[in-house]
């Protein structure tokens, strides 16, 4: 069983080349008008199989170890805290979990860890939780991936949830990967869609791959829980319903859950972040077109008028005009706000992959051929030093 499980059925292949275009790895070529797959380059992703109009490509998927997946129920949401409040992505996930739990006829359970947090449990119930599993410990007051993972692994073993969701944040990503490996189950990052296959009772997880080039649907058929992370703003938060009732289960875990090989020393808040990029509804970004560092004040003014976060292209960051934490793009942050305003950014592909999922994209650039205009909903070809002040004035006057 050492051979890879992909084959071209020569009788069906007509040499149309659809698979060659579809392959993200350049693993397919035509030889005598028949598709040939270079097994060293192929990752069995299945893009060619989907693209083939003739069903000429087959992939044999070996059946993994079957484990008993019965007896698992309920949809869990890991509740993430940011300093004094609950992260908005957690409420958005509670909203989605309600839909999934409705399809599965099960409950939404919020998993809430920390120190002195009992007062916030009510809000979780108002926004969709049927139950809150609360673990209060002084040592859980600050997030440490190891300690949180140890705690949640114990809870999963006790309660056996069917699905576990978390935000695709620095906290969520660092945590759930540890849990999935310990429990031995599947985890899918950055899902943009979560649905239930009602017949098979499976969570269908949809996520972009290869910089948004391709969408993939992923399942975890043989292991439980089915785990997924979702970015900010992808799902919708429910309006609080003060008539909702729920149960709070206080868990006191005995035994060792604190890992003494890692120690939290301190947290330093950086004041330059008025609004967190991942969390922002609107982002105003500046690029090389600003010419010099002091002109970033224009971007800040527009951002302030719109109550938006400030982003930047790699060119502006590399030139030292603004700290790295503002960088949007492949080597910076990936964002998907409601409105993204790109000022003086030409739109290199590395920038585009970091912001092209934004709902509305506005581009202001003096070069009519800038690639940013190709993906912008609204474009102004013009001098940003004239356009931005006018726009600021307009917003302020309303």
């Amino acid at each position: 069983m050492k051979e890879k499980g992909i084959k071209v059925i020569k009788e069906k292949c007509v040499g149309c080349g659809a698979c060659i275009k579809a392959c993200p790895f350049g693993a397919v070529t035509l030889e005598s008008k028949i598709a040939v797959i270079d097994l060293d380059k192929c990752t069995l992703c299945g893009a060619c199989k989907e693209a083939c109009p003739f069903g000429a490509i087959v992939i044999y998927k070996p059946q993994g170890v079957k484990t008993d997946v019965s007896g698992y129920k309920n949809v869990w949401v890991f509740i993430e805290r940011e300093e004094q409040k609950i992260a908005s992505v957690s409420f958005e996930l509670l909203g989605k979990a309600r839909v999934l739990a409705g399809d599965l006829k099960s409950k939404v359970v919020a998993v809430f860890l920390g120190s002195d947090i009992k007062k916030d449990t009510q809000e979780l119930i108002y926004k969709g939780a049927d139950e809150v599993i609360l673990v209060e410990k002084k040592e859980l007051g600050h997030f440490i991936a190891e300690n949180y993972a140890n705690t949640i692994v114990r809870l999963i073993q006790k309660y056996k949830p069917e699905i576990v969701l978390a935000g695709a944040t620095t906290t969520g990503r660092s945590l759930v990967s540890r849990i999935a490996v310990k429990i031995r189950t599947g985890l899918t990052a950055d899902c943009t869609g979560l649905d239930i296959d009602k017949e098979k009772k499976l969570l269908i997880q949809t996520r972009p791959a290869f910089g948004g080039n391709i969408m993939a649907q992923i399942i975890t058929p043989n292991y439980r829980p089915q785990m997924a992370t979702v970015r900010h703003k992808v799902m919708k938060e429910l309006p609080p319903d003060k008539n909702r009732e729920g149960k709070v289960i206080e868990e006191v875990l005995d035994g060792k859950i604190i890992d003494d090989r890692i120690e939290f020393v301190k947290f330093i808040k950086e004041e330059s972040y008025k609004v967190n990029l991942a969390d922002a509804d609107i982002i105003v970004s500046g690029g090389r077109g600003l010419g010099e560092p002091k002109n970033f004040s224009l971007i800040r003014e527009l951002a302030a008028a719109l109550n938006a976060a400030v982003g930047a292209s790699r060119a502006a960051v590399d030139a030292g005009w603004i700290p790295y934490s503002h960088q949007v793009g492949q080597t910076g942050r990936t964002v998907a706000p409601k409105i993204y305003i790109a000022c003086g950014i030409s739109g290199q592909i590395q920038h585009l992959v970091g912001m092209q999922s934004s709902k509305i994209i506005v581009a202001i650039n003096k070069d009519p051929d800038a690639p940013i205009f190709k993906i912008a909903n609204y474009g102004i070809v013009g001098d940003l030093f004239k356009v931005i002040p006018l726009l600021v004035e307009k917003i302020k006057s309303k």
């Binding site: 540890r178 890692i262 972040y273 609204y378």
Partner: protein, 262 residues
């Protein structure tokens, strides 16, 4: 210090262009590079070695052509490379990938620190680093922007972890795993001598048997997740260019934006 750097070979996106008609990305004859984030992990390993002495080893799990990525890492100053390559690894998800890398780190023996990029630019999951740490049973620090003094008396390291709204300072005991962000350093260019050495160096290949794993532990059968369908996202609609003098254009833009502002 005995440091291992885990890298991944990824398609180079600078060669990807947008098809103006469909607004989708086209990839033709895409060449491969080291995942951009891994370049910072390589540089950090070389700097730590320069400062504290020791040994650096780079590993990758990938097909035969990933040899290029390993040689590039050697040219940048890494001492040794090991190529984890086996057809049985193909189709591994992040669970199986982190198992294979963890097994290799165990086999290298007496490793103090593992460095990874924060995520790969093609998959974007950021799951493999913490996955390796968990398979090994080690503590981790993700999104690290600075590694401070290493304390050899207490076998620990202090580092700064970049968060959404600032950063936190963590102290970890060895052995540990650290994933790094771009801010941590500025990678050097390969030296001529480094390139010469990289060309000649012997790179051992470890397959599934060398790692003490069975066929069903990796690849599709060792992966809890399964890809059931791949499809193209709906193309982004081409937008409008707002014409007119700057005041006119701003007026029009503002009235359009107002629709989306509430």
């Amino acid at each position: 210090m005995n440091i291992v750097v885990c890298i991944k070979q990824v398609p180079e996106t600078t060669e990807v262009k947008i098809n103006p008609e469909t607004n989708t990305l086209i990839r033709e004859g895409v060449s491969s590079i080291i995942n951009p984030f891994d370049m910072y992990a390589i540089e950090e390993a070389v700097r730590l070695k320069e400062k504290y002495s020791g040994k650096t080893t780079v590993i990758t799990m990938g097909p035969p052509q990933a040899d290029d990525a390993l040689r590039e890492a050697l040219s940048l100053g890494i001492d040794e490379a090991i190529h984890l390559t086996d057809r049985a690894f193909a189709g591994s998800d992040t669970w199986a990938t982190s198992l294979v890398l963890a097994k290799a780190i165990e086999k290298i023996k007496d490793v103090d620190m593992v460095l990874c990029g924060k995520q790969a630019s093609d998959g974007d999951t950021a799951q493999v680093g913490p996955g390796i740490a968990t398979h090994l049973g080690w503590p981790q620090a993700t999104y690290v922007r600075k590694i401070d003094e290493v304390d050899f008396d207490n076998n620990s390291v202090v580092c700064e972890r970049l968060l959404e709204e600032g950063y936190e300072v963590l102290k970890l005991s060895f052995p540990c795993l650290i994933t790094v962000v771009k801010e941590i350093n500025e990678p050097r260019m390969p030296s001529l001598r480094g390139k010469m050495r990289a060309k000649k160096q012997n790179i051992p290949a470890w397959g599934i048997k060398e790692l003490g794993l069975k066929d069903e532990d990796a690849g599709l059968s060792g992966s809890p997740t399964q890809v059931v369908k791949i499809f193209s996202p709906p193309p982004r609609r081409m937008g409008m260019i707002i014409e007119g003098t700057p005041p006119e254009a701003v007026d029009k833009l503002f009235s359009e934006l107002k629709k989306h502002l509430t």
